[in-house]
């Protein structure tokens, strides 16, 4: 009988009626090569976690056929699953054990091999799957990392502000640089929104985003196709007007933009109200100004406008 059990369940134990171990299956023997379990009490070697009610050998038959959760009493306290059934020999009990989900650790801990498991046991297949899936997962993870890298690179190379669809700072710098190099005259207008932070703080980011999109649309409608409008970041915008050197023209465009974006902007059931300040600078034909200088001068003009209160426009005296 034990010969058969050794093959089909190499992790079994046979107990006698006093609850003493009389036989140990070969794989269980391997995990405690040095301790002699035969002759010891079952409850001396194992801690029964569930069901917990058992305290002596006489009660063991109460838990027959139930699923047992146990672990070894000495270290390593490997967790085991098991089932106990009355054996074919009168008063004998057979306990069959398995490593359950802790099998991966147990195989490492005890150096188990294919032959330590019954040929029908799916442990080897499970270990295979654990390794194969980990390898496949690793390959996928690497692909994800590369794709993420490619996405970040693509974003860095992008010329569009994803929220508003306007050109971004990178694109604007590029276009302005080309204008400077070609020696054409142009006007640079910087526009900062006023009260935008209040909208964001009181009505939320979704409302803020909606305002930025609406404002962007207003600017696009007020300029010519040859002009370039960009969102430089946050609530800062800039417009480049090639060939414009007339302050009156720029003033009227600026005024139209300000009065349009001062109109209440509806978002869901809320009303958002913003304004803007403008600072502009002219770059005359064949001027030697750099993009950095032009931005600095436009900034100075912009701050002058802000100091005067909302909805003001200022031109930099420098060209």
């Amino acid at each position: 009988m034990t010969d058969i059990l050794n093959v089909i369940c190499p992790m079994h134990l046979v107990l006698n009626k006093t609850g003493h171990i009389v036989h140990v299956g070969p794989t269980l023997e391997k995990i405690r090569a040095k301790s002699k379990w035969v002759g010891k009490r079952f409850l001396e070697v194992f801690v029964l976690k569930r069901p917990r009610s058992i305290s002596c050998a006489k009660e063991l038959h109460y838990i027959a056929f139930a699923k047992l959760h146990l672990n070894l009493r000495d270290t390593p306290r490997t967790k085991l699953k098991g089932v106990l059934v009355p054996g074919p020999v009168a008063d004998h009990l057979i306990v069959n054990l398995s490593f359950g989900i802790s099998v991966v650790d147990a195989v490492r801990e005890y150096g188990l091999t294919n032959t330590d498991f019954a040929p029908t046991d799916l442990t080897i297949e499970m270990l295979y799957l654990v390794e194969a899936k980990s390898a496949a997962m690793e390959a996928s993870r690497k692909l994800n990392l590369r794709l993420q890298g490619a996405m970040i690179a693509a974003e860095e190379q992008a010329f569009t502000d994803t929220l508003t669809g306007l050109k971004n700072r990178r694109a604007f710098d590029y276009i302005m640089e080309r204008q400077i190099v070609s020696g054409h005259g142009f006007a640079l207008m910087q526009i900062d929104l006023a009260f935008f932070k209040a909208v964001n703080d009181s009505l939320g980011h979704a409302a803020g985003d909606h305002v930025l999109q609406t404002v962007s649309q207003i600017m696009i409608e007020e300029i010519r196709e040859t002009d370039t409008v960009a969102r430089l970041g946050g609530d800062e915008f800039a417009i480049l007007f090639p060939g414009v050197s007339d302050a009156a023209v720029l003033t009227s465009i600026g005024q139209r933009i300000i009065s349009e974006l001062e109109m209440p902007i509806h978002f869901q059931d809320k009303v958002c109200q913003v304004s803007a300040s403008i600072g502009s600078v002219f770059n005359l034909m064949d001027s030697s100004s750099t993009a950095k200088q032009l931005f600095e001068n436009a900034d100075i003009a912009l701050y002058a406008s802000k100091r005067m209160g909302r909805a003001q426009q200022t031109f930099s005296p420098k060209t």
Partner: protein
Amino acid sequence: MHGLTNRAIQCFVTDRYGLEKWAECARLADIGFSDFESMLIYEDGQTTQILEAASAVLNRPKFELMEDLGTYLVSHPNTESLRRLLRFGGVTFVEFLHSLDELPDRARLAVSDLELPELELRDQAATQFSLSCKSPISGAGHVFIGILRTMADDYGALVTLYHLGSSQGVETISISLIVSEYSEGRHFDLGARL
């Protein structure tokens, strides 16, 4: 063809012959890129193109190169995980041979869209076997010769292998087991951490 297969070819050429040779192969094959991604799917034709390009660039017959690819797959340190997965097939070389029938199913369990060649092992005598291999890539049988020869060493078995040619897309390999425990073979630790 699955990216894993193409990537295996790329790693083989790169590990054995260097990055520059691989770049040359990719250029000659005219696939439009230089790196296969292991988790994407590619046209079958690209695999054939790359194999032919490798044969030309490395100046070696294609089938010989494919056999080397098989050897590489189960012996190079970079592909140790593959050797381990194959060793799960059985405790002895004969058990391993018998596990080949289910290799495509095993592969699909791990990577559901991975199509390996259809394999069928026939026992002709206790020590005489034949393996049929059906694949859209011509010469896949030669890859398996490389794999089988190296796995036999791994198990410590002495075998002779012959490619018996192909008919209607099915290649056949003859396997004669001379000694099953010729040498110690390589150790296989079931619970090793990779």
